[in-house]
Structures are given as structure tokens and as C-alpha cells.
Symmetry: C2
Subunit: 487 residues, 2 copies
């Protein structure tokens, strides 16, 4: 008998002893695992929650704590800011954001239930200031609540679904509210009596015929055999930190160099597959570079090495960043005029590739042939002055002419500039968080949520901030509730 591993479950007949047991065993203590544990516990289950690190957090703890919420006419924050947000438009946007990879059933369910999920988040104690911050922000630098966090107001999204801002950010001054979000969820987890074990790494599932009945946890260099009476919930994150998995399933990520995550090694995806789970859309990833900060830069124009524009730059920064990677060569240029240039943040690792008194000079400095970049910018400015972008549909107010010299081309180099990324592909799950096999049937006793699954954030070209935490918390809850309900 080959040893059990991430890739091969342990038959229950080979379990030497049970070291612990619970109704529901949750693996991973980010937002998905925390939400699953809370819901399972509130449904009356005895819950064990394991985390490989020494504390909670995961990638959620590194995030901005922003959750994508809308529909039902809008949250009270959206409505106070004057935005009506019908479920139909919200759902349509979720599907467009998922593009060819969208899970329609998840989009529809979340489209209907996001407002009640908003009430749940607040009930957990997550504070929201309740105000609206207009403009184009990656995260608010203050403690503001509602921001535009996607491509809602940009073509082609705005033509198919009425736009509304839907990024709901935890009240927290500065970047990184995700840590506070997880802290609050952790407090709930502990208050409810979930038994939390840290420094515990899952090494195999335990199966009885086709049913998952537990997990082998590695703690203090010893295998612990943990029985799950109702179900195991995988919430271990994506595989941005696993180079071997990236090479096999998501090799485009090697164009760039800054994975986001906290030991996101894809373990849960392997565990799920070891029990027959199906991993889907494994080639998808979110990437973004902080090109919209300082904010004036959001008015810039991108060209590829052929001097061509390639997207309406008023889309979500991640959609624009993902389109950059589709361009020929190893870089793109962000073009700015003196009215819209500010010193870029050092962490962006951009550099000034050219400057000029006119766009012709910038073109020459970049060694581009005459009539490329300069022609692109003449065309762009001519139309921008009239409020139009006939090529890509960029819209006001970001659609401004760039005609105040001197002019600047910032180089965004895929290898050396900051392009963060995390993976979006993962286990196929039902809307109840059941892990599905390749025939589409639920694997008894096995559930999953968050970035080890394929969920709301499904397509790199359509990602919007807050989609992943929405998915983690909402479908984490679904998985917890369903697992607790197994008899």
C-alpha cells in the first residue's frame, strides 16, 4: 500500500487510532475557513479548525478587507450614496466578471443573497463607516466604506449592467483592513467554541469507500488522525506559492514575480483531487500592478511596444494589468503628461523610460518608429478632447487629453516591476460548497471554499476587488452550514 499523501487518501481501515474528532473539521483559517467554522458551529456542530501557520489570516489577512456586495436595490450605503443596484444588474455583472469561466449558479445565488450576507457580516461585528468615496482607488487610504472596485462603469460592462460601486471596505484607516476582518471573524470563531489548532498541516484525507471521514494532520512532527463525523471543509487557499503547480497549470504567471498569499501551496486542491475532486480553470489568475496610484496616473494611457493602445484604461486596474500580459514583448508603457504625473511609489518598481517636449520626442527616445506612439497619442488626444474614445470606449472623467508637456513614458516591466498575482482556479464545488467529482456528483463528506475552489472570482480579465472575499465568506458559510447539516 502506497503511503497516504496529499495525492492519495488514507483508507479508514489503515487508521491506527483517532487522535481527535468533531462533527466538522475545517482546514485553513483565512476568511473562508473562519466563515465556514462560524456557520457550522451556529448550526450546532462541534467544529475543529486547523491552520498550518501559527495564527489565522491566510491571504485574506493580507487583503484590503473589501467585500463585493450589491443587488436587491443596494445596501444602505449604496442607496445613501444615490446608487440603486437591482439584483438583475448585480448578477449580470458577476457573470461578466467571470467571463468564459463564470459559474452561473454561484453568480445567481450570490446575486440574490448578497444583501443578507451583508447583514451577516455586520452581525459578526465587522464595522463599516457607511460613507461613499468617489474616484479610482485600489483601497481607500482613509476608513471609507464604499468604493468602485471593478469595471462596472467601463465598457463593455457598463453597457450590459447598470453600474454601481460595490466594494464595501471594513472601517480601518489605511491599507490592509483584511487583517482586522480576520481578527473579528477569529473572535467570533473562538467565542462560539470552535476548537482551533494552529501549526497543523493537513497531509492526507481519510476515506471510507468514497466518503471522506477525516484527515491526517501533521502536528509537532507527528501524524494526528482526526475523525470528521459530518464533513471535512478545505479552505487552504490557492497555489500562487507553489512553483511546480504554476508550471503545470498556470505557467503564464511566470511572466511576473510577486505572488500574494501566505504559504498558498495548493494543498487543498491536491487533497480534494485525491478524493476524486475536479479542479477547473486552473490557468486563471488575478494580477495587478499599482499603476493607478498616485491617483493622477489613472488618467494615463497604456501602449504596448508597438506603440498601440490595447484597452480602455478606465477598467479595473487588474483587468488592465491582465491585458498588459497579453501584449507582445516584456513590457508596456504608461504615458502621462505633466498635468497627470506624480512620482510613482517605489514599491511599484517602475522606471521612467522616456521623456520629451512632445510625444514625437518620447517616441524617438523609446526607439519606436516614427508614426507609432506619436500617432496613437495624436489620435487619442484629438478624440479625448471631444470626450470620445472610439477605439476602446474609455469614458470621462478619466478620459482626458494628455497634451500638457513635458511628456513621460513609465516602463512597466513584467519581470522587474511589481505585478502581484494569485491563482483563481481550483476545486469545482456546488453552491453548497460540496466538492464535485469529474462527473459532477458531490463527494460525500468533502466540502471546500475560498481560493482552493473555483468561485465568483473566476477569470483574470474580469476580476474585481472584493470578489474573492465575497466568495470566501459567503460560500465558506454555505459549506459550513451544509457540512453541519449532514446526518
Amino acid at each position: 500500500m502506497t503511503a497516504a499523501s496529499l495525492h492519495r487518501p488514507l483508507p479508514v481501515t489503515a487508521v491506527p487510532r483517532w487522535d481527535d474528532e468533531a462533527d466538522v473539521v475545517v482546514i485553513g483559517f483565512g476568511a473562508a475557513g473562519a466563515s465556514a467554522a462560524i456557520e457550522a458551529r451556529e448550526a450546532g456542530a462541534d467544529v475543529l479548525l486547523y491552520e498550518r501557520n501559527s495564527g489565522s489570516g491566510g491571504a485574506s489577512g493580507l487583503s484590503g478587507g473589501e467585500i463585493y456586495i450589491g443587488g436587491g436595490g443596494g445596501t444602505e450605503v449604496q442607496r445613501a450614496a444615490g446608487f440603486d443596484d437591482p439584483t438583475e444588474d448585480f448578477t449580470a455583472y458577476l457573470k461578466m466578471a467571470g467571463g468564459p469561466c463564470a459559474d452561473d449558479a454561484k453568480c445567481e445565488l450570490y446575486g440574490r443573497e448578497a444583501l443578507s450576507h451583508w447583514e451577516w457580516l455586520k452581525a459578526q461585528g465587522i464595522p463599516y463607516r457607511g460613507n461613499y468615496l468617489p474616484g479610482k482607488h485600489i483601497e481607500p487610504t482613509g476608513d471609507d466604506t464604499l468604493i468602485w472596485s471593478g469595471s462596472e462603469a467601463a465598457a463593455p460592462f457598463c453597457d450590459a449592467a447598470k453600474p454601481a460601486p460595490r466594494g464595501h471596505v471594513i472601517q480601518f484607516t489605511g491599507w490592509g483592513g483584511g487583517r482586522k476582518l480576520v481578527d473579528i471573524l477569529e473572535a467570533r470563531v473562538r467565542a462560539l467554541g470552535v476548537r482551533v489548532v494552529v501549526d497543523a498541516r493537513a497531509t492526507a484525507l481519510i476515506v471510507e469507500d468514497t466518503r471522506v471521514v477525516g484527515a491526517v494532520m501533521r502536528i509537532d512532527n507527528r501524524d494526528h488522525f482526526i475523525r470528521a463525523r459530518r464533513g471535512v471543509i478545505l479552505a487552504t487557499g490557492g497555489f500562487a506559492m507553489n512553483e511546480a503547480m504554476r508550471r503545470k497549470y498556470c505557467p503564464l504567471t511566470f511572466k511576473i514575480n510577486d505572488p500574494i498569499g501566505d504559504k498558498d501551496d495548493g494543498a487543498g486542491i491536491h487533497l480534494g483531487m485525491s478524493a476524486g475532486g475536479d479542479a477547473v480553470h486552473m490557468d486563471q489568475f488575478l494580477t495587478t500592478c499599482p499603476w493607478t496610484i498616485p491617483e493622477p496616473q489613472a488618467n494615463g494611457v497604456f501602449v504596448n511596444i508597438a506603440g498601440q493602445r490595447f484597452i480602455n484604461e478606465d477598467c479595473y486596474h487588474g483587468r488592465v494589468s491582465r491585458a498588459m500580459l497579453d501584449q507582445p514583448g516584456d513590457r508596456v508603457y504608461l504615458l502621462l503628461d505633466s498635468a497627470h504625473y506624480s512620482e510613482p511609489f517605489a514599491f511599484a518598481r517602475t522606471s521612467i523610460a522616456a521623456t520629451g517636449a512632445d510625444w514625437e520626442e518620447v517616441e524617438r527616445e523609446l526607439d519606436m518608429p516614427e508614426g507609432t506612439l506619436a500617432a496613437t497619442m495624436a489620435f487619442y488626444n484629438d478624440h479625448a478632447r471631444r470626450g470620445a474614445d472610439p477605439l476602446f470606449g474609455k469614458r470621462t472623467p478619466i478620459l482626458t487629453p494628455l497634451d500638457q508637456g513635458p511628456f513621460i513614458a513609465l516602463e512597466l516591466n513584467f519581470q522587474s516591476s511589481y505585478f502581484s498575482f494569485f491563482t483563481l482556479g481550483g476545486l469545482s464545488t456546488s453552491t453548497d460548497g460540496e466538492v464535485l467529482d469529474r462527473a459532477g456528483a458531490a463527494i460525500p463528506g468533502l466540502f471546500a471554499a475560498g481560493r482552493c475552489t473555483h468561485g465568483l472570482p473566476a477569470w483574470g480579465h474580469g476580476y474585481s476587488s472584493g470578489l474573492s472575499l465575497a466568495d470566501c465568506t459567503f460560500f465558506g458559510r454555505r459549506a459550513g452550514g451544509r457540512a453541519a447539516d449532514v446526518r
Copy 2:
């Protein structure tokens, strides 16, 4: 116990009887399965070969019968035509063709051994006329042997590896030499005493612990339990005809509508995964539209709906076609002047979207803003007259100005024009055709070859004609030889 299926192997303890047995059981009778069966039989194994259809062929039988061969200084055909083809350049090209998905070990092995594989092909009785046909052809319409079948002479490939034509086409007048190729391999299979069973569909593998020891074959509506003493070889093709699999793993193929294959339902990929096999690069596919025929059209220029060029059009037609799908919108335009226009073949399902006395008129007819398409063509013609394409590096002789009016824009619409495709992702295998699990270990008793595996043709943007048949026949042989050698 859940019933065995494509997704769940049958434990040997549940096998009610053995209906037949052999040393090596091959599933699928295209070029990969035939090559595997020949090699296994010649190594002394008793071989059973099953095919779900009523006869041999598979996707190989629908192909042009073109095999990508080079290295070692070149075949006698390459050398007679004046092409030296060092192994180093051949291997470098194979790796570039695989792009981010390349299997370096397979590229290196085939790089070294393609010449001896060429001898093997001829020894099976496959005839080659031995001549060289210059120009840009999808397949020769005569019975010529050697053609340029990739992007060897185009940027960026030509800068990294010395170009040589490497598409070796079976002697056969007209298109479709693949049928003849498979017929010849079938004759060898039968002459060697391989036992062939048609109308037989694999429904599950049979396992003893982690070892594959047979397969359940559905024949005449009854399950046959087939024992494989040494190994099972999966050679069942890709999943271009399986819409559910495409939706989950390769959704970009829904942009287009013409799968190539012969019931290519991905069954072998599922069978391999059911035994713990790893499926990799499942998002990759080859697509091509016949835009280079009639041949004068190969001189055309492609623009997207923004009037921008996007690639050096002297690349392989499939690489150009794949880049088309990356463009915004649902179509691209092939621009031609009267010196290079011929009536397109009806099967291409293209249409004339605009004509004009000058490019400005074409631009207006296409409702493109002034200064887009016409500016693109003015720039292109200006440089083409001097033999240069500073944007994308297109080269002579195809780099010709398009300045002989009247002018034409052909619409290639992704949904309605002919865009054929087949899938490239599949089981991860060793260079000996062993199916590898997710930890990279060989699964005892299980082998695979052809398009149910990830092999030489690994990346849609780098495909070259003949790569898939090279992979099927060469790595089919490797799998057959290795399976026969198991004791």
C-alpha cells in the same frame, strides 16, 4: 461501492471474470495507438488493441499526414533541399513552440531521436516522394514531401533557432494523407499479429491497489473485463468534442465552432485521472482558419476591430489564428489588395466586409474612425516597400506592400467563419509514456500517448503542423516499448 466509471476504477477484487487478456492493452486506434501497438508487439508482447469506432483513424486519420522532423543535420530530404538542421536548433524550436507549456525533456529527447524516428516511419512502409515544396502551404495539394509547416522562418523564432522546413508529408496527392498514414500503420499492426477489436469503448480501468491491471471494455452492450499483464496504454485523443470538458477546462474554445476529431471525448484523460493521473495545460488548444489559401492571401495583413495589426502574418497560420482570438470583439479583418486577392474557398465561410478605391474608403465602409485602418496601412506599406516591418518583424517574401487598388477587407468572424480546433492539454507523462501522478511518480501499469497527453504540441500560440503526429507516433512508440518491457 460506487460503480466503476471513467471517473472511478474498478478494484480487481470486483472483477467477476476475465473475458480476455494480453501483455499490453492499447485503447484507441489512431496514430498513437497504432504506433504503441507496433512497438509493443515488436518487443515481444501479446497486444490487444481496442477502438471505439468501427475502424482505425481517430483524428490522425483526418489529418494531412504531416510529421515534424529535423535535427541531426536534417533528413536526406532536408539536406537535398539545401537545409542543414542541427539538433540544437531543432530542439530550440520545439521548446519555443511549446512556449510556457513546453515539456523540455520531451523536446530534448525528440530533438535527438527524430532522425531515427524518420527511419522507423519509412520502415513501416510510409512513402515519401522526397522533394521540397517552397512557399506557405497548409498541406501540399500535390504529393510533395517537405514543406514549411511552422513559424521557423518568422520572428521571434528565426532569431533563436536557425530555420529549416520540417513538415514531412506522406506521399499522397491532395489533402488528407493522414488516412493513408493510418492505413499503413494499421497494415503493420495486423501483420504483426496485434489483436484488433473495434466498436469497443473503455468504460473504466481496473486497479489492484495503485497498479492498473486492466480495463473494462463495453462491447455489444456488455462489459468485457480485460486483463493487462504488463500495461494499459491510453491513446484515445483529446476532448474537442466534449462540451462539458471544454466548459470546465478550455472555455475559450467556445469563441469558435469547428472541433476537429473523431469522437474525441476526453475519455482517456478521465480514465488516466481516475487512476491518479495528472492532467496539465488543459486550457491549451490549436486553432486555425484557412486564411492562407488561396496562396496569394498569405500576403494579406490582419487588423482587429480597432484597425490595429497584431502579429507578423508570416508566422504559422495557426499561430496567427490563435492571436486573432486574443483580439477585442468577435472578428478580425484580412486586408488584401487586388494583386493578392482571390475568391476565398467557400468552406472558409469568410465574407467581404468592405471594398474601396483606397484604404480610407475601406476604413469608412467598416465604420472605423478616420486615421485607424488607413493609418495602419499607410505605415505598413511605407515600411514594406523598404522591406521592413518595424512593429512585428514580418519578413519577405510575404512582406509586400498592399497598394494596388481596389482594396478588400475580408471578415473572419469567430462564430461564423471556419475556425477549426483541437485540444492540447492532457495527461502528464514521462518520456517513456508512463502516466504521472500529481506528485510526478509513474502510475504502475498505466501509459498514454497522443492528444490525451500533454506532449510536443503544448501551446496554442506555438503550434506547428506535424507536431501532433510526431508526438503521437514517437511517444506512442515509447509507451509501447516501455509497457512491453514491464515484468
